[in-house]
Symmetry: C2
């Protein structure tokens, strides 16, 4: 009588069924992330779901399938203007400091299984999207065509490729999309990592979330810390993989780069003047080349501090080269904005000095020489902790953090969409801006 | 040989152990919310954990144990100034439209088991806190002392209680706290729901997240949509619990309240003039009293539309009374900011008309009379969906949503803290503000 034995008390089968049931139930709650407590904030009206974990709580992003000329087409134009595509390198994005656009594009093109750690999930149906990503390679487009008239390879391509036309055509294309028109662009994401990228059309796309390097060429109504995301440059010199320590770092302060720049970068020449005669300081004028990258790598890996003065705009790739070199950045750039500053306390990994103080003869070297070895080691340890945020190739590095930052903007995006749609005519005395204003006093140095 | 039988293949015990193991493992992942995928964004430097669910991902809030006079003491002073505490009502916060401060205080005082659905978890150790809540009853304090000189009960208490002194003493107390000094107040949360609450000290606490009704009495550098949270007033008339429908709603448009107000409220007299002679419109001058609340309840429960003109400031309790009455709000208040606008699309539950258009004779009634019954039903259905957001007593209502809104501010709070601490002296041409600027064109009406 098997039936009877099945219901026999203490039968192991009952335990099996019981535990199997418990297991399935728990698995259900885990996988579908159903909260045990009632917290159904998600039922109505295009709700924001950023507060939740798991797929169902992730921000959903739709990547536009742009006409090919805006993505791979730019890569091809770039190669063509430089003597054609080498065999085996078709569609290969050229390495450069503004290549975040490539990393984000490639990331969203990965299969979803590989994107488990990301804060955004790609959806193929725009109806289901919270945000829309426009993957135009705007930074590469800016330099696709060598602009130097004397460039031996530039002649033909000047005719073929115009970045300004590309920008214009991109916006024309967008303005025909229903999802662009629907919310005035508030829910669109653009990458323009080169400070000049998209310069011609930025006023028409400014409602979107802009992924930028700094605000040097952008006005206050075009971009801000509140609406946009500051990206790190892709570092161009090799990561330092050795141990923390000062034994092999005999140079106190290192800088290599262009001495003469415009605007904020004028400080460079002044810094050269006060630094170039100091022993244990290495400052060198140099332009971009494979050889100078090698030399910079050597310099940054064997120095305790690395100088980061402003360039034409407040930011530059050098800062991120220093970070991955565990060379403590000395930032002399009063208006710099820094990537991911909600999760990174830069005072722990860098030294800030205001420009006016930094150019006082003798001040900077004296300040740095006084830093005790223990303190240097602490800086290096902190640098090592945050290094992954500056590595676009790390599976849990820059790319994931950029998407997390983007996903945090969603509540404000939804707010602005809803609010804009119901605003009535008003007699406004000034622009309608919501601001976050910071403490205006500043310090001479964080050291 | 029991041992042998234990390892016998196909023994049910093996299944029991296997499933029990799986169950425990899954339970572990569920309870401790350990992600299956690697997404450890939380390991360094005071990271923000809002993107995660579960206790470990919730924003941690510390509620100051303020001197008693700032909480229950205010309630007692209020009662004393009105003839003393009635028996059995000791410590009972008096019902009023600004009683959000009481609901938040009470909520954080609940045991953590009852707060499972909340976006914030209360911590008793300030070292573990992301945010600090200052539970001063600032709105009740403002009215604790009847200010009318002729008030028969006011005489004695004028001497006893001074709201201005209380505000001053609160800030003095705060300024001695290490957690206040540590981050310049950026991570502190204040409630000042009455537009005049904290008016004397708001400049000294403006870095904090302010929980307010509107920005009518606050300057752009004191408060904004980006930094602060707009709260709904606590509704003062009863919720309508009947079905959606227009059969029992014969009045087209209802308004009851003070006809004459200052500033933005001047529109009221003009609206009275264009509306008071319309049949099927009921506009009545009336001040706060139990009787007029009863009358307003009747009116709002039997009207299709409820007028919401600006008062002295852009917001008023009446809007929220209308919402819980399923009476479609007609908002004539050009500068109003609305609670929780990231999750609520107010065009679905209310009609917006700009002031200039609304006071044109005949315009408003004509507009509303043209709305078809189906459309009215749709508005009512949407109102019912969002009603809980305006109910402070709903276990998943206003209180939970306020904390969710507060928790969303944390990334910007952390950003401002880190950024402020490293800013060097700059030659700023204007205040250092990050802004979100909205489309400045507006429409005449959303209908």
């Amino acid at each position: 009588m098997p039936k009877k034995s099945f219901f026999k008390p203490k039968s192991p089968l009952i335990f099996i069924i019981f535990f199997a049931f418990l297991f399935i139930l728990t698995l259900y709650f885990t996988l579908f992330n159903t909260p045990f407590h009632n917290s159904s904030t998600n039922d109505v009206l295009g709700s924001v779901r950023v507060e939740k974990n798991g797929n169902f709580g992730k921000v959903r992003i739709f990547m536009y399938d742009l006409p090919r000329k805006f993505t791979y087409g730019v890569v091809e134009s770039y190669a063509k203007a430089r003597g054609g595509v080498k065999e085996g390198e078709e569609g290969k994005y050229p390495g450069n400091q503004h290549m975040g656009e490539w990393h984000l594009f490639r990331d969203l093109n990965r299969v979803s299984d590989e994107r488990g750690g990301s804060a955004v999930v790609r959806v193929m149906d725009p109806e289901k999207a919270d945000l829309f990503y426009v993957p135009f390679f705007s930074s590469l487009s800016l330099v696709a065509n060598p602009i130097r008239p004397g460039d031996p390879e530039g002649g033909r391509s000047v005719v073929d490729y115009s970045d300004e036309e590309m920008q214009e055509e991109l916006v024309q294309w967008l303005e025909e999309q229903i999802y662009w028109k629907r919310n005035n662009g508030w829910d669109h994401v653009f990458i323009c990592q080169d400070p000049n990228a998209l310069y011609k059309v930025v006023d028409r796309v400014k409602n979107g979330i802009l992924l930028v390097s700094d605000f040097g060429r952008l006005s206050r109504t075009q971009a801000s810390l509140v609406k946009d995301v500051i990206l790190p440059y892709a570092h161009r010199i090799n990561t330092y993989n050795g141990e923390v320590g000062i034994e092999d770092r005999n140079t106190l302060l290192f800088f290599m780069g262009q001495r003469f720049r415009k605007e904020g970068g004028k400080v460079r020449d002044m810094l050269f003047k006060v630094l170039e005669k100091e022993k244990d300081v290495l400052v060198k004028h140099g332009t971009q080349s494979r050889e100078s990258r090698r030399e910079a790598t050597r310099g940054m890996h064997t120095s305790k501090f690395c100088l980061h003065p402003a360039g034409d705009t407040p930011s530059a790739c050098r800062l991120f080269d220093a970070i991955v070199s565990l060379c403590i950045p000395v930032i002399v750039s009063d208006y710099i904005e820094l990537p991911f500053e909600d999760v990174i306390d830069y005072r722990k990994i860098a030294v800030f000095v205001d420009t006016k103080t930094a150019i006082k003869p003798g001040y900077l070297v004296l300040l740095l020489r006084k830093v005790k070895p223990d303190r240097i080691l602490n800086f290096q340890k902190e640098l090592r902790k945050v290094k992954r945020y500056f590595d676009y190739d790390d599976p849990d590095g820059t790319v994931n953090e950029i998407w997390r930052q983007v996903s945090l903007k969603l509540p404000l995006v939804k707010l602005m969409i809803n609010r804009d749609n119901r605003l009535v005519l008003r007699n406004l005395p000034e622009p309608d801006c919501s601001c976050l204003c910071s403490n205006q006093s500043g310090i001479h140095t964080t050291l």
